[in-house]
């Protein structure tokens, strides 16, 4: 049967995938997608904990409220991040993170 631990393992695997993607990929758009994946992985852990912490016969809705706020913040973050990417593309004509080396020491 499926236990809480199963969900936690899937959540950590998704988080690790996102982290690996951020390390490997050079395209800043794909890096942003991997960031979204990591946020969703954290959401999965929160929802799983919410379901398995039953109080008075109902799941813990505080965790789900936190997930709701996380999704909202992620949406705001994507909007601002993509605007930065468009501004970056205008000045560099590229979305490769290796093209942005001005602050490299």
């Amino acid at each position: 049967m499926i236990t809480l631990n199963h969900y936690l393992i899937v959540s950590s695997a998704l988080f690790a995938l996102g982290l690996a993607g951020i390390i490997v990929r050079r395209n800043i758009l794909v890096i942003y997608m991997c960031l979204e994946m990591m946020l969703s992985a954290a959401n999965l852990a929160l929802v799983a904990f919410s379901r398995f912490r039953v109080t008075d016969g109902l799941p813990d809705y505080s965790a789900q409220a936190l997930v709701f706020f996380t999704i909202t913040v992620a949406a705001a973050e994507v909007a601002v991040g993509l605007a930065i990417i468009v501004a970056l593309y205008r000045s560099k004509q590229s979305v490769d993170v290796e093209s942005v080396t001005k602050m490299q020491g």
Binding site: A13, N43, A75, V86
Partner: protein, 196 residues
């Protein structure tokens, strides 16, 4: 949720997550991420979080991915060709990823409360109704009496009764980010006025 569905949706989520990283074309990455999010939403539904599952599909698979695709097509980003991957980075990523999963697996293997199944912690609407007493809102009371989980109503109760202030802060955050996006994407007018 039956075990087979859990494995199916977990596999969809993780396999399309891998596709996001390995595909050279950003459009393929974006579409894979959308499918991955739909799989994740199915996992949420299996955890009786119907509202969060719906919001996941609407906001992530809908709005956020459309935004990504729009930017990819606006900037006309082509697939990476002729580039060799940085093998040191690939090695580091695999090591970090495997270590992270192993670490969580080790912690989880000694986590006794995590060995419960959903059948061992069932939702009891009747018990919830008794605990709420006379304070239950009519809509919630009706659903709980019928023995169903009024997920969206309870979510609304939680957000507006306990997290009302936080909800307003989030609204302000969305406003600030909207204004920020407009300022960031405004083209600097170089023909008149010169440097700003």
């Amino acid at each position: 949720m039956p075990a087979v569905f859990f494995y199916l949706f977990a596999a969809v989520t993780l396999l399309f997550g891998v596709m996001v990283i390995v595909s050279k074309n950003p459009v393929t990455s974006a579409l894979s991420l959308a499918v991955s999010f739909v799989g994740l939403a199915a996992l949420f539904l299996g955890l009786d979080a119907y509202f969060i599952g719906t919001v996941q599909v609407l906001v992530y698979a809908g709005a956020v991915m459309v935004l990504f695709l729009f930017i990819i097509m606006l900037l006309d980003i082509k697939a990476e060709t002729g580039k060799t991957p940085n093998y040191a980075a690939v090695f580091a990523a695999i090591v970090v990823g495997v270590l992270l999963v192993l670490q969580v697996a080790t912690i989880v293997s000694t986590f006794e409360k995590g060995k419960l199944t959903t059948l061992e912690v069932p939702l009891r609407p009747k018990e919830a109704l008794a605990a709420m007493g006379k304070n239950a809102l009519p809509g919630i009371q009706r659903d709980l009496e019928a023995g169903i989980l009024p997920d969206t109503k309870l979510m609304g109760l939680q957000l507006y009764h306990h997290y009302g202030f936080h909800l307003q802060i989030i609204g302000l955050l969305l406003l600030v980010s909207t204004v920020g996006v407009v300022v960031l994407s405004k083209r600097e007018n170089r023909t008149e006025g010169g440097a700003k």
